[in-house]
Symmetry: C2
Subunit: 184 residues, 2 copies
DNA sequence: AACCAACTAGACCAGTCTGTATAGTTCCCG
DNA sequence: CGGGAACTATACAGACTGGTCTAGTTGGTT
């Protein structure tokens, strides 16, 4: 039985899910506590930095999860266009499964909190950077190109989530080859 | 002195700016009131639907503003790639001017409120649709392609705002030709 | 002048927010 | 068995939330 228990971990997990679906300001600490089955005292014991610290860790966790998933896709798929299409499918599946509640794990928080909290902003930047790095690694290290691919994907997820329709994902998917400038 | 006064208009304008920069949940009605110089009673006189109605109208206003600006750019610039580059510059200027507080006028709200309010979601969809329409009109009516262009722009603005760096905008700008599939 | 709609003003309410304080429990170690 | 750290549990605080209510003011019309 670990002393430094899994309660802490569970809190971060719960917070990550809630922030993912609702954003920073729309998610109350009470909701995180209730859903994670923990009282207030525990929260401020584990996260003396309060909501902000919890958000930073939640973002890092969510970023890591997606980064791992992305890496798995890219490592099992040599052709980058095909790999990106698979990545889009991954995000599309999640959107559909959650009735379009969960798109990009961090962009809601990035938009609604990173202007007022520098630590949160930095966590979001790290997240985007990590994903972009995975993409760039499989695009001959072309960072600018990876930026464009990431932007197109993020934008597509944003549109798909708002419209409740996967079409933007597919549109971007079919145009990825042109975007990347390969014929494959 | 106009009877159906400009107070109402001013409220929508203020709300639009605040929602733009901070999102839905981070923006309190009191802040809108204070910044717009109006008391609570007036708000619920002009907007019986409360915060939600105010948001819907603010989104519509912001959408219209950008739509007009986009149309102006496209009508004065025959080449669509060049026009999109100008549009990116427009958004980049605003980002820089506002110290990266104001990116896309509605995407923050789209992400942090459209899941819980159907009217707000619909207003956001209309906004995206109107912008996409302008783009498609100058892309031989290719709607899917316009979707990709819009997604890339939205994603670029999101990344630029979070990173506090216009590079993503430029990266997308230089790749637009490939994205659109034209040599011009 | 009288009237009525349009509109303003702000007090007020109940609920929620993040955050604090403190008493209690659990669990390992000696 | 005893002591102390790790952790939980809950009550509470103060500020702020969106929203309601009613009294008052303004201004055009007859």
């Amino acid at each position: 039985m670990p002393r430094r228990t899994d309660t802490r971990r569970r809190m971060v997990r719960t917070a990550a899910d809630l922030f993912h679906a609702q954003g920073y300001h729309a998610t109350g600490l009470n909701q995180v506590l209730a859903e994670g089955g923990a009282p207030k005292g525990s929260l401020y014991f584990h996260f003396p930095g309060g909501k902000e610290q919890l958000a930073v860790e939640a973002i890092a966790l969510a970023a890591d999860d997606l980064c791992t998933a992305l890496r798995a896709v890219f490592e099992s798929t040599p052709d980058p266009v095909e790999a990106l299409t698979k990545a889009l499918a991954l995000l599309g599946d999640r959107l559909e499964r959650t009735d379009f509640r969960e798109g990009c794990p961090i962009s809601t928080v990035a938009l609604d909190a990173s202007a007022e909290s520098e630590p949160i902003r930095e966590a979001c930047v790290s997240a985007y950077d990590s994903w972009q790095q995975v993409i760039a690694d499989h695009l001959d290290g072309d960072d600018a190109l990876a930026t464009v691919a990431l932007a197109a994907i993020e934008g597509a997820v944003l549109l798909a989530r708002t419209r409740r329709d996967l079409a933007p994902l597919h549109a971007v998917g079919t145009r990825l080859a042109a975007l990347i400038g390969r014929t494959s």
